[in-house]
């Protein structure tokens, strides 16, 4: 990308705000303002939702540079919190988010304690049979229930909850508590007090669970494995890191996939030709899931990095300490990277996208999410080929304020 960019803020001109408002008639598209910014001001100083200022990147190539340049640190303040809620750094977070905010080589050392559990092979061998079973069970329950039902409560929420419980070694009976706390924590439409309450609930919950596992000598799941890495003379995790990782894996491990599952189902229900093509060619499920990840890019306010020194990206002069946010939903619709980007095309040739982020910090659980989506979507439409929205697209309540975009409810008729 060598085009010259004339996007420097001029004088005292007020900064534009990060676009957050979507077109209610096109709820599957990112805010329309991103399209204009990507063409005219692809790296631009903006005011973020919380009122802080920084850079926003809307093109794919420049966005991938931000995520790969070691001069930009993952240790960043939040930018997506409500108006007026500005922190200097991430130290105010009630729990330790661990490797999410670390840089290399520390980041890799901690993340790699977990990556072996999330490879395609590990997921296929250890989780896939379980996923097949619980999806079939839930489809049976849907078939035995009312013709019109909420897909979120019937499938999109319970499946990711069950899977993360199985993976971590968390009792599924506790799902209402940890899900409610997660929704509070992740909803930027809620006050700081409510979000902190969600965080503290999760901290107390994981702390109690860790104590219980220590007492009983439990060996099931990732949490028990992490306890082993926090105990004994050669411990590599502090107690705070252990609890932080447990909290992180629990909320990030189910809320994201639940959002994506609901939104993917809505997308297929409103794209009749693509759905028919997929039902006729189930072997296209792999590319279809990648395309849904690209097209929907649920992390709706982007992800930030902080410049560790003065640097230049795409012609913009970024100063040490400034926050640079990549709007991944805009980058994933960049026509320079994807032909006809606003069209959902399950036949699109697979290429890297930012649906799971990009670079060394790319989503740890991405293969778990893929496995769940690749199981639920074909089974759902095979079992209920006439599945349809119970109302109109405009009536579906969208989650405009959650860190992850999604549907709050999805009423469908089987």
């Amino acid at each position: 990308m060598t085009e010259s960019l004339s996007n420097q803020p001029v004088g005292d001109q007020p900064l534009i705000s990060q676009p957050v408002t979507r077109d209610p008639l096109n709820p599957l598209d990112p805010p329309a303002e991103y399209t204009r910014l990507r063409e005219d001001q692809p790296i631009v100083k903006v005011r973020f939702p919380n009122g802080s200022a920084g850079w926003m990147v809307t093109r794919f190539e420049e966005g991938s540079q931000v995520f790969s340049d070691p001069r930009l640190s993952a240790r960043r303040p939040r930018h997506d919190t409500p108006e007026g809620e500005v922190d200097e750094a991430d130290d105010s977070a009630p729990f330790d988010v661990g490797f999410v905010m670390m840089d290399e080589p520390e980041h890799g050392a901690y993340r790699r304690l977990l990556t072996g559990r999330f490879t395609p092979k590990a997921v296929q061998n250890k989780l896939q049979p379980y996923i097949d079973k619980i999806v079939d069970d839930h489809l049976d329950a849907i078939a035995a229930g009312p013709e019109t039902f909420d897909f979120v409560q019937a499938m999109a929420l319970p499946i990711p909850c069950l899977v993360i419980c199985e993976l971590l070694g968390v009792p599924y009976e506790d799902r209402d508590g940890f899900h409610e706390a997660t929704v509070d924590l992740m909803d930027m439409g809620k006050s700081r007090e409510v979000r902190d309450k969600g965080a503290h609930w999760l901290i107390r919950y994981i702390t109690g669970l860790v104590a219980e596992k220590r007492r009983t000598g439990a060996t099931d799941g990732i949490l028990a494995e992490l306890i082993n890495k926090a105990d004994g003379e050669d411990a590599i995790l502090s107690e705070r890191q252990l609890i932080g990782l447990g909290v992180l894996l629990l909320f990030a491990g189910h809320d994201t996939t639940a959002a994506m599952m609901g939104l993917s189902t809505l997308t297929l229900l409103t794209h009749d030709e693509q759905r028919a093509e997929l039902m006729e060619h189930p072997e296209k499920m792999g590319t279809a899931v990648e395309e849904l990840m690209r097209y929907l890019t649920i992390v709706q306010f982007g992800l930030g990095r902080v410049a560790k020194e003065d640097l230049e990206i795409g012609g913009a002069q970024i100063k040490k300490g400034e926050l640079v946010v990549v709007a991944m939903n805009a980058a994933n619709r960049d026509p320079r990277a994807f032909q006809d980007p606003d069209t959902l095309d399950i036949d699109r040739k697979m290429a890297r996208h930012m649906g799971f982020g990009y670079g060394v910090h790319a989503c740890l659980g991405q293969n778990v999410a893929r496995a769940e989506l690749k199981t639920v979507l074909p089974k759902l439409f095979q079992r209920f080929p006439n599945l349809r929205l119970a109302g109109s697209l405009e009536e579906v309540p969208m989650d405009f304020t959650g860190t992850n975009y999604g549907v709050r409810k999805l009423m469908v008729t089987r």
């Binding site: 790699r112 490879t119 890297r352 799971f356």
Partner: protein
């Protein structure tokens, strides 16, 4: 064809293994990529290019 890998960039997503299982594998313990064949035969070129294209960290470079 010559394949080079930036191991520091590898995020362990394993998309290369799915694309070209005869050329790439992952370590069981931490998911880091293993290059099984740095000079694969011609019938593997397409899958290797696919692996390069989908790597979410752009850690694979292919030269021909």
């Amino acid at each position: 064809m010559r394949i080079s890998i930036d191991f520091d960039k590898c995020c362990g997503a394993g998309q290369c293994v799915l694309a070209a299982p005869e050329v790439f594998d992952q370590r069981d313990e931490d998911g880091i990529v293993i290059l099984l064949d740095p000079h694969p035969p011609a019938d593997q070129y397409e899958t290797v290019r696919q692996a390069e294209a989908v790597c979410p960290a752009a850690a694979i470079k292919v030269e021909q």
